[in-house]
Structure formats: structure tokens, C-alpha cells
Amino acid sequence: MEIGYLGAFLMGLFGALHCVGMCGSIMGVLTFSLPRETRQHAGRLLGYLGYYNFGRIISYCLAGSLAGAFGSGLLLRVSPQYGHSILLLFATILMVAVGFYLAGWFPGLAHIERAGAPIWRKLEPLGRKLLPVKSPLQALLYGLIWGWLPCGLVYSALFIALGQGSAFQGALFMLLFGLGTLPAVVTTGVFADQIMRIARNPRMRIIAGIALIVFALTGLIVNW
């Protein structure tokens, strides 16, 4: 584990500010499509929001464990001696790229989300069958599908999870990343207007991007 779990959390936290345009609207749709009596009961509403996001983060962990397992196998084959250094460099470059993406200086990174479009085409019809959500199980299942929604930021995190050394560490990395996305995604469902305003502020995005770049480069220097 070179780019630490704190890095994963920060990537999710800052990155969600950028992705709030999509995930925030989806969270809004999922929140307001719940039955009125559920929405009017704060405890019940919070429970449903939890199920949606729990499902989403489980999917991230599953993808992270696959990436971690694949990456560790690759590492042993390619170069057991220098593999970790190569992956550290690779992960740093990716995190810096995400920083540039968040700041709005490298919009091209979003194109990597195309990689997940074929999976989403298969999963999306299943998700539609679960809507509108009427039970906690449906919310959890919908969250599981939502986790595979193509997203440049999630895929960048998965690339970094490749170098975490094992399936468990890959899953843990994605768990922390998912937890980092929670504050923005959950609150956007309720405070869409205010969060959107913050997210669309270019200055905020530049600050988030620079913070991530500084963090990635510090991690490289410390771990090299």
C-alpha cells in the first residue's frame, strides 16, 4: 500500500465535489422517488439513503478487490523487485491526473469512463426494474447497481487499487474512497442547490485539485 488509505478518502472527498453534478442528481432522484411517508420520516429516510450508499460502496469494494488481486498477480509476474516502485509511480501519476481533472485542467480524464459503458448497458435495465424503490432491500440492490455507473473518478481510483498489493487491500482502498464520497453525495440528495453551487465554483474545484496533487506528490516522496 503506497498511496495510503487517507489518499483514497481524500480522493473520494474532493472528487465527489466534481462528480456531484451526476451523482447528486441521481441521489436527488432516488430520494424524491421514495414514498412520501418515508421521506417525511427523517429516520426512515436516512436509513434508505444508507442502503443506497452501502450498496454503492460494496460494489466499489468488489471492484477494488478484483483490481487488487489482478494487480498483485501482475506485479509478481512483471517485476517482483521493482514492481512496487513502478506501481507507486503509476498511482502517483494517476492521482496527480485526477487532481488536474478536478481543477478543470485535464477534462480528458473523463474519457476513461467509456471503459465501463458496456457493463452499464447490461446493468441499467436491471436497475430500472428496481425503481421506484419501495423497500430497504430494493434500495440496497439499487445501490449495488449504481456502484457500477461509469465514472472517470471511480475508474482512476480502481487503477490505483491495482497497485495495493492484494484483493483485501484493493477492497479496503475502494472502501475508503467510497466513504470519502459519502458527505457530498448524501447531502446533495437533500441540499442539492447549496452543494451544486459549491461544486460549480471553479475556485473550490481548483483548491480540491491542488490539494490532491500536493498529497500525491508528498506520498511519492515519503514512500519512494
Partner: protein, 316 residues
């Protein structure tokens, strides 16, 4: 009014495909959404797509352009009227909301509604009930609402021209439709597809674009968005059908924006730079009433540089 038709939205950029995926999720629910975006970005087509992919697809899709409704007729247009309610009401009119029963009501330019209509619409959104003009009966309608605007509704609320309660009622799930200039790679895709469709419609051979022309189009700002692009494709097809279009064949506003916003426009016939410089020096002297320091300042030159030029052109 339209029933289900498959509306294909063109776009391959992450900015646009992301929106389409989110709208697909919204379509599977019955939540009221608002589409925010510049004019010409395709908000109505997106609303139709939501309708077509929703469980209401077999019911009507009724679009109302709130900016185009005459003040006096807006209420009757929305909620209908009873026969004899006002001069000219010779028969019952069910109104657009009733026409949308079971389907989707699309309110375009929602920020342009009068305050009076806003109050009535809010009541309908909250209770599903409304009262046709000149009728004592309350009526009920089950419609899904999709609103769209290119205005800053929050600003309108501050100015007092839009009701705050209606703003919060409509702004539950906002979707931002990206302008064409922010959709990376979509200009080429749309140009090719729209040109092909128009060529088929007009039965003309489609023109092709040189690399330079395409580069110029890519860097254009497209203030009119897809609507502007479509108009350009139509114009180019009619003028250059079957031929190759170079940068020079593109409309002036696109070519000029591509290059730079020049302070002076160089005429196509060309100029003599020395003559122009002499003329500018003379004009500056005239404006400064012969005061050379002041004339130098007008041209952004030091007094020494100004004097040097006067001497060079023997203008003293």
C-alpha cells in the same frame, strides 16, 4: 402533443453521456425534474426522451413554452375554460394540463411565467387540483412535471419576479445540460450526423469539411449551441452541396472568433502599413491639438518613440 416516439440524443462526450445516464434513472421514477441550460442545448428533446423512457410513455407529452403565452390567455391555456367564461370562449376548453392527463407536462422557459400563473401552478403542483377559468368545479390531473429554463431562477427570486416557494418546488432535482462548447468531441459527431440527415431530407449530396474548417468549428464557442450548429449545417449544405468546405467558406463570425477578437479588422483587399501608421500619428496629433506628449500617450508610445516616428515619416 406527442405520444411515445423514440428520440435519439446525439452525443458521445463524457459530459453529455453522463447526463443521459442520469436522466435514464430519472425516467424510471416519477420525480419532477428541472433541466437547466443555455438556449439551444436540447432541453425539450431531453424532456421528450425522459417521457419516452418513462412508464407514462403511452400517455401524452404536452409542451408549453411559458415565454410565448399571451398574458391574458395564459390561465385559460394552462387550466382551460368553461364556455362563456369570457368574450370569445364559445366552447369548453380542457386546457393543456388536462390534455397531459396521465402523461408529462413540459414547461419550457418556466422563469417567464407571470406571478399570477405561478401562484396557480404552485397550487396545482402541491394538490394536483386546478380550477378552469369561469368554472366553479375543481378538477384533478395526474401529470409528471418537467420544467426547463435558461434563466437564473435564484436571481429571479431575488428580483421578485419568481416565487420562492415555486422555485423550491421545481428545483427538487436539477439537471445541468452542458452547452455545446463543453461537450468534448461532440461537434464533429453532430456535424456529420446532422449533415447526413439534412442531405437526405433535401436530397442533396452532403459536403465535406477540410481539417482546417473542422478545427475552426471545434474552437467556435457556439453561443446558440446545437440549434446554431444545425442552422450552419443547413446553410453549408445548400451553399456547398457535394463540395469540400474550407475554413474560408465558413461564416465570418465563426472564422473571426476562431482567430482572435481583433481591435481592427484588416480589409480583404489589404492595406499599406506605413500609410496606416502615418495616418494614426496624424490623427493622434490632431486629437492632442499638436501636443506631442499627449499624442504619444494616445498611441501608447513614449514621447521619444513618437518623435522618432514623426521624423521617420517627415511629419513634423
Amino acid at each position: 402533443m406527442n405520444t411515445a416516439v423514440n428520440y435519439r440524443m446525439l452525443g458521445n462526450s463524457p459530459e453529455f453521456t453522463t447526463l443521459l445516464r442520469s436522466l435514464d434513472i430519472a425516467a424510471a421514477t416519477d420525480v419532477a425534474v428541472i433541466l437547466l441550460g443555455e438556449s439551444g442545448t436540447g432541453k425539450e428533446l431531453l424532456a421528450r426522451q425522459i417521457h419516452c423512457k418513462s412508464s407514462r410513455a403511452d400517455a401524452p407529452f404536452v409542451a408549453i413554452n411559458c415565454a410565448a403565452l399571451p398574458e391574458g390567455l395564459a390561465e385559460s391555456e394552462f387550466f382551460g375554460h368553461a364556455k362563456g367564461a369570457f368574450t370569445g370562449a364559445v366552447s369548453d376548453n380542457p386546457g393543456r394540463i388536462s390534455q397531459a392527463e396521465g402523461g408529462t407536462l413540459f414547461l419550457d422557459e418556466v422563469g417567464e411565467m407571470s406571478l399570477d400563473i405561478q401562484a396557480k401552478l404552485l397550487r396545482f403542483l402541491e394538490s394536483g387540483e386546478f380550477q378552469p377559468v369561469g368554472s366553479l368545479k375543481q378538477r384533478h390531473a395526474n401529470v409528471r412535471l418537467i420544467a426547463a429554463t435558461n434563466a437564473d431562477l435564484r436571481e429571479k427570486v431575488k428580483q421578485g419576479s419568481f416565487r420562492e416557494d415555486l422555485y423550491y418546488r421545481l428545483n427538487i432535482v436539477p439537471f445541468h445540460v452542458p452547452p455545446l462548447r463543453e461537450r468534448s468531441g461532440d461537434v464533429e459527431l453532430l456535424m456529420a450526423s446532422i449533415t447526413r440527415d439534412l442531405a437526405e431530407q433535401y436530397k442533396l449530396p452532403a459536403p465535406s469539411y477540410t481539417k482546417a474548417a473542422m478545427a475552426c468549428l471545434r474552437s467556435h464557442d457556439w453561443p446558440g449551441n446545437v440549434r446554431e450548429l444545425r442552422n450552419l449545417c443547413e446553410r453549408m449544405l445548400i451553399l456547398f452541396s457535394g463540395r469540400e468546405i474550407d475554413e474560408g467558406n465558413l461564416p465570418r463570425e465563426i472564422r473571426h472568433q476562431h482567430r482572435k477578437q481583433w481591435t481592427f479588422s484588416l480589409p480583404d483587399t489589404g492595406i499599406c502599413l506605413e500609410d496606416l501608421e502615418k495616418e494614426l500619428l496624424q490623427q493622434a496629433l490632431e486629437k492632442a491639438d499638436g501636443n506631442q506628449s499627449k499624442a504619444a500617450r494616445i498611441l501608447g508610445l513614449t514621447r521619444y518613440a513618437f518623435m522618432y516616428r514623426l521624423k521617420k515619416y517627415q511629419l513634423q
